[in-house]
Subunit: 675 residues, 2 copies
């Protein structure tokens, strides 16, 4: 049988022999896995020397485009990946979660990076911090890609989604990746990486694959590398305390399976839509991927009064679950990943049974459709019931398979306390139609959870369910769940960057960030609206005014727009207002007059005002006040196509120098302009 | 001699005897230190059971007020703390950095929390994420205080600033603290905590003190606790791999002293202001706190051509540094913290001398003013010079005292590479007047640094210097510097919170976050401008319109405001614009008309419009279009005093339902209103 190849140092390599991996359904050998003799230190060095520099030459947007190309390419190969997945015991629907889910993460990061990250190589984060009275010394944070390799160690249960959900943020960040799949399902991941490598979409060194052990590689991790692990809590512990990781403060992220709970609200009595949603979701979470999900519901916390009803309804639905060969269309739940995995689950069920009793299913027997029950890793879904909430087993023993335990609670406080006994979870859910219960429980659960789903009849049709991590939301949880955080939109990209505070004079800071900083030099020689994006520079500015605001202006504006708010129209009422000494000009009038002052009216490269950010009215404008506006080019963001975005720092002052309004005006400006 | 008391479990306790701690200047015993027999597990439990719940009942603003009260109280006791600090070898100016700096962090967090955190117990972070096409399923992140204890292990060099820079963010976050000072200077921290406890400003259990060893305490850390360490890289390693920390994924932050560099730019030739700034800063960093700062400059990277000039100028200034008893006013540099500390520095200098040579100072001899040179831990400032940049010593050996090494470089790339050989630093600086050099070096250094100062003649007068962490900027660095991050404004508060993704229907999410979510229910029974803050609820809304925009309106507005931009006035030019099909209404006109529609003009509880956030113009408005505006109360933020802030979700649509503009209107609303 062929040994799976690793892709390191720019070449596919395989040792002569390895450990056999078997088909979860038939028991046939699928491949052998080993990294013997593969130079893993060289793989790291290749990533650092070749992959990193090539990726860091690109902007976030360019790397996002690569992620999108990858996703489009992989979408064409879904059927092949589905077929391989079936050998891991996955049903078609399990495989779609894995394959389509993984491709979806690539798409999500591609589009999000374009929206939320700059078309640049460095992220400028947060506001400019004033560090001195005189304004000559300021600070701001920048985030730059780390120069190491992102090593990922994956779990067996999601051989496509697992690598891709870690790859997408690293790729967008500009950090090369080494993928290490779990041996049990490594043949799926190996094919995934073959597709990526063959496509030649990514620069050389961006993605490498190590099938087999990476123990030797870990010794070579350095201060700029990161290690991201998904799997068991025990392995997470071993990795976290690895000498190289400890000595070099290597960034380490763990996402470990946890004893997630789902709470049924007291309002969700049998007969309500929420009760049915709870039962259906619990059955789904028990049987999807044969319960082999880090996020699956292990503990079903239900009001004591409805334990019988929940147990009865879940049992009834579980009876209808057809277990067997995923190739058979009637099959709802496939095999566990391996016979060893099944043995582990059986052992865990035995432990659980010391404090709970089995109320549905039989760990030793299952009726199997379309496969040999002896050769395939099949297991019946198993529901347990714990009537003594003081027992430790359901809160400490994890059966990583189609196994859940129903536990009763008396009130919200007890539900929260029971949830916390899991000592940290990736995901929790609350099924309730009662907003007060939801708020109490969510806030109580939050310190122990990375994600909490609140399910009610309104959200039901579109809910993605308890168990599904989403690219937009963080995935990870405290304590037993590993204490890590993945996904969560651009947060995951930022994890691959180093945050650095930069302190400097305004002009120097501006030179470093590419953004004009308040207090920096302004150039007012030519009206900046006459400059194309190619000609414009940050710091180009126009100062215009003064224009006097009269009482007639205010009344005229009020009557024209209909905005006859008392502060503009009624002297006594305005005076009674704590902010004003009398009738004031409309904020919108100030904005309109400011635009009237700063605009250059002739056709030119400025195409449109598409928005305003962070507008604050700081000093009231009274009749007779004179307004001056200063508009300064703050940031220039070229986009694909013929134009780009320009952000203008805008300050309106009055005759005494006080600031009336400060805001950013956002415009589109043509890259080229010929009058 | 008295044994320093610890404050745990609500009481001051001291063992019978402990390890002696000596005056750094006179060698006299100051106190004894031990935690023998103190129940440290109980201290943790007391923090969790008593301190945490009391703090979590308060809002971020209320806790910020406590931080401010603490700062005001401590300010009254500065002289006492200065006097104690002198016994640690600190000069008055060293003590001010420590004491005033620490109090400054409290003030900074107090004011920043009021500005940047909600007056609530949970932080809502980031945008609402759309998770479904139909809009019935959405997500958002919340951050809730963790329910454990923040344990801090401090370094000896800043016995006041160290504990306070860790306490301030934890306190604001709502997390109780256990302070463990370094024994060498524990008597200063012990007095600090006495002042805090005696003041009774904080709820019981908020702050505890353990003088002596906390080894036993670490075993009891759990999933909700955190450990924050400042000190040596070796101790950081030991703590990071502590079994309890590893097993329970305890949040661990390390800030270790590092081999920080300061780079002289090629433009900063001898004779330039930047050259002088470089030399003066290097001498300051070598001698302040007798060089016992994690952020001090250990490596002076200078253009090869100017090594002689730098060495000469630094040597000349070091000659003028008076070393001795801090009580003597002529003394510029005090003692090291202890004789043991001095021996360590001497050993390190010997190691350094294998690859460098001493060009100023003598590790074995120093002239001392006002003290006995045998009893006090005095040391001469020592400058080394490394002419072989290939030598490892200056990049690996840290002498934690008044010791720096001058190293030559040839170009920016070499300077960046040499800097990286420190394998991760807390702080770096670049002294240059050349923006291009600054940008190149800062971006190159960024992956290896937590903070980088760019110093030039403009910033010089107000610069806070290479070595000073500031509350607004992150403190910490990758790799050797510990891989941690402290301070950085509210980021440090967020480190004490758990980020949790919440998924729900819009109304349910709104109930949990207290903010109206787009897609949620609106109530339009009464105009919300008629409701006081006490009456107003999120979701209260007004829908107003339609109003037709005419060409006359556009021309009138243009002539009135002066905004005669071609897109409003010139049909042909507007058509030529890629965004418009003809003349369009001003965005500012749309805003003004929208306000005219949604405003309720009578005197009422709405006091002022103080701003607009996130305004985007999404669809052009042409003559004949009809505008409708929907204004929905999105967030209510009561403040101290008679009013609060109300954020209104504002959407302007036109006749076909397309969204013309979307933004948040910010108003002040009176808490009570009697017509």
């Amino acid at each position: 049988m062929a040994v799976l190849r690793s892709f390191v140092n720019g070449a596919w390599q395989a040792p002569a022999d390895g450990v056999p991996v078997r088909d979860a359904v038939t028991g046939e050998e699928v491949a052998r896995v080993s990294s013997d003799g593969i130079d893993l230190a060289a793989a790291l060095e290749y990533g650092r020397r070749v992959g990193g520099p090539a990726l860091r030459e690109l902007t976030f947007h360019q790397r996002a485009a690569l992620a999108k190309s990858l996703a489009l390419m992989l979408r064409e190969h879904r059927d092949e990946l589905y077929a391989l997945s079936a050998r891991t015991g996955a049903t078609r629907s399990d495989a779609m979660i894995d394959v389509d889910g993984g491709i979806g993460v690539l798409f999500a990061y591609a589009s999000r990076a374009k929206r939320e990250l700059p078309n640049d190589t460095v992220v400028v984060e947060g506001a400019v911090e004033s560090l001195s009275r005189g304004g000559t010394f300021v600070g701001q944070h920048i985030l730059a890609p780390r120069t190491g390799v992102a090593v990922q160690i994956n779990a067996f249960n999601f051989p496509v989604w697992g690598p891709l959900e870690k790859l997408a943020p690293a790729l967008v960040a500009g950090v090369p990746t080494i993928i290490k799949p779990a041996s049990q399902t490594a043949y799926v991941t190996a094919r995934l990486v073959e597709l990526i490598v063959e496509s030649q979409i990514l620069p050389p060194g961006s993605v490498q694959l190590v099938c087999g052990s990476v123990t030797e590689l870990l010794d070579h991790l350095d201060e700029q590398d990161s290690l991201s692990f998904t799997g068991s809590a025990a392995t997470a512990r071993r990795l976290r305390s690895h000498p190289a990781i400890v000595a070099r403060a290597v960034r380490f992220n763990a996402e470990a399976d946890s004893l997630n709970c789902s709470i049924l609200g007291p309002d969700a009595a049998p007969g309500t839509p929420e009760f049915d949603l709870y039962v259906a979701q619990l059955v789904t979470e028990m049987t999807a991927k044969a319960g082999q999900k880090c996020t699956a519901i292990r503990r079903a916390l239900v009001p004591v009064a409805w334990m019988d009803a929940v147990v009865g309804a879940v049992h009834e639905r579980l009876q209808a679950v057809v277990v067997g060969n995923p190739a058979d269309e009637t099959v709802r739940m496939g095999a566990l990943a391996s016979l060893e995995q099944r043995e582990e689950v059986r052992r865990a069920v035995k432990e659980l049974a010391a404090g709970c009793r089995i109320v549905s299913g039989d760990p030793e027997h299952v009726s199997v459709t379309g496969a040999d029950p002896e050769r395939g890793a099949f297991l019946s879904p198993i529901l347990l019931r714990c009537d003594d909430s003081g027992r430790p087993e359901p809160h400490t023993v994890e059966a990583f398979g189609p196994v859940s335990t129903v536990i009763g609670y008396h009130d919200a406080a007890e539900a929260i306390a029971l949830a916390a006994r899991g000592r940290g979870s990736l995901a929790g859910s609350v099924v309730t139609g009662d907003p007060d219960f939801a708020r109490t429980v969510v806030v109580g659960l939050a310190p122990w959870h990375g994600r909490i789903l609140v399910l009610d009849r309104t959200a039901a049709a579109e809910s993605t369910g308890h168990g599904s991590p989403l690219p937009a939301l963080v995935h990870g949880g405290p304590g037993r769940a590993g204490g890590g955080e993945e996904l969560g939109g651009v947060r995951a990209v930022l994890h691959h960057l180093q945050r650095t505070a930069v302190q400097a004079s305004p002009d120097m800071l501006g030179a470093i960030t590419g953004r004009w900083v308040s207090g920096g030099t302004r150039r007012t020689d030519e009206h900046p609206f006459r400059k194309s994006l190619a000609q414009l520079r940050v710091g180009d500015a126009v100062v215009a005014g003064p224009r006097t605001v009269t009482l007639e202006d205010i009344e005229h504006f009020a009557n024209f727009t209909g905005d006859t708010f008392y502060a503009h129209m009624d002297e006594a009422a305005a005076r009674a207002n704590p902010f004003f000494d009398g009738r004031v000009a409309h904020g919108y009038l100030v904005l309109a007059f400011a635009a009237g002052l700063f605009v250059q009216p002739d056709p030119g490269p400025v195409l449109a005002n598409y928005g305003i950010d962070n507008l604050r009215f700081l000093t009231p404008v009274y009749p007779g006040d004179e307004l001056t506006v200063t508009l300064t080019c703050k940031q220039i963001s070229p986009r694909d196509g013929d134009y780009g975005e320009v952000r203008w720092d805008t300050v309106v002052t009055k005759q005494d120098g006080s600031v009336v309004a400060a805001y950013d005006v956002l415009t589109m400006v043509a890259k080229e302009w010929t009058p």
